[in-house]
Symmetry: none
């Protein structure tokens, strides 16, 4: 990875959280601690960020208004590490130029950092994702139109005739509240509405779900398991869940913290 590319990713990451650790940046950029430290030092003298012990922080402290006050912050710390690894593995599925859809959510939001050094066509219904990518990447951003719901941070239109129908992607990436034999589960009716609108606008549905999602239950079923092409999860996935997915013909990618590797591919 090139210097500029790393710098872009580092600056992207530093906006997202109060502090980014050297270790996080190492996994995010696939380079050594020494290099990250040099990068941070370099960006520090350029006044692009502030160097702190253990990592780096944004140069503009009160800048987190947009990211702090939302429900994003709750789950964030909990499975943060896995989420980032999962997001990174998901981005590795993409090439420059690909048209993709990213459904809003805390897990999918983590994709913005590895995406910072890409140049893709990204359709999203998430205002924060669009905002971050607009500021920290050169990707083409296409936004879904409609009312911005502050709590969920998604944009939703009650009409069927919006730009969503004019965008067709290679892949759609989404999170989920739960993942069981009955299918993909979601808790918030509003999110259901947003997601159902997007499913069907992509060849391949990729679900990002950390291992806790396999034990989580929810009342609303979004779509059957068969609709899902790929699941990206972490090493904590229970055996029975892996078997369930495999049985449904789903490709399972297990993202290790630091690297991503393919674990199983079931025949269709």
């Amino acid at each position: 990875m090139h210097e500029k590319e790393r710098h872009r990713i580092i600056l992207s990451a530093v906006q997202d959280r109060p502090v980014v650790t050297v270790a996080e940046l190492v996994t995010l950029t696939d380079s050594s601690e020494a290099t990250i430290r040099r990068d941070i030092a370099s960006l520090h003298v350029q006044k692009k960020l502030r160097r702190v012990r253990g990592g780096a922080e944004s140069i503009t402290p009160p800048q987190f208004v947009g990211l702090a006050g939302r429900p994003f912050s709750v789950n964030e710390a909990l499975h943060g590490l896995q989420k980032r690894a999962i997001a990174r593995a998901a981005v590795e599925l993409c090439d420059d130029g690909d048209p993709i859809i990213i459904n809003g959510g805390t897990t999918t939001f983590q994709m913005v950092h590895p995406l910072a050094s890409k140049r893709m066509q990204i359709f999203t219904n998430s205002f924060p994702i669009a905002e971050h990518l607009l500021k920290h990447s050169k990707n083409t951003i296409i936004l879904s139109g409609g009312v911005i719901y502050r709590e969920q941070n998604i944009i939703l239109s009650p009409f069927d005739n919006d730009v969503t129908r004019n965008f067709y992607a290679k892949r759609m990436f989404m999170g989920a509240q739960g993942l069981g034999p009955l299918g993909l589960m979601e808790a918030d009716p509003l999110l259901i509405q947003a997601e159902q609108k997007l499913i069907g606008q992509a060849d391949e549905l990729v679900v990002l779900a950390d291992s806790s999602k396999f034990s989580s239950r929810s009342s609303l079923i979004l779509c059957p398991l068969e609709r899902v092409a790929t699941v990206v999860t972490d090493e904590g996935i229970p055996d029975h869940a892996a078997q369930m997915l495999e049985h449904a013909g789903i490709r399972v990618i297990v993202a290790a913290a630091g690297a991503a590797q393919e674990a199983a591919t079931a025949s269709g």
Copy 2:
């Protein structure tokens, strides 16, 4: 392959991605590293791109959409004071609960500050306006869907069937490049496209134009003067311009720095 041909390819590639490596360009042009380096060096002195170790990057100098306050760069400082006064007077036309449209632009952006204390239904095609209002107000924000154009900071859909058609407002607020007997003038074709889409989705068209706009000329006519219901401007408006507007049956509001007052109302 000719030199010019390679240069075209290199410049194209550099626009396409945050950073292109020498190796990438070698495969892209079927020439040697030495040649690519010479090309990059040549284009570097021509200021067509920036030479970085490992390759080249786009020459986007301070192309950083401000996080905090400065989403637009150039016009900002010029008529800042008047613009703010005009924007303030424009907002005073509105009441809580009103559905309004705000077309993106440097003048209309100034409306966000007085709007911070309102609770209205605001439709906009401007990402920075939406961002600011989302973070600093409790207004309901409805966003137009489509591609986000970074330079103009507006969202534009090539399709006619988007949410825009489902929103109808009491007033639409917009800036303009110029305002003459022939009508409302704009310089950027992209902005024209965005504005024409919105005009017609509101009862009343309100144009925010500081007094310099009456002497400014531009090639593209957006709409005839008769379509405009109200013009908000500053004290520097020339007499002939005021007469012209009055003659067209336009209500003219002159915003003094510090207060807004109605100056003239022409009968229809």
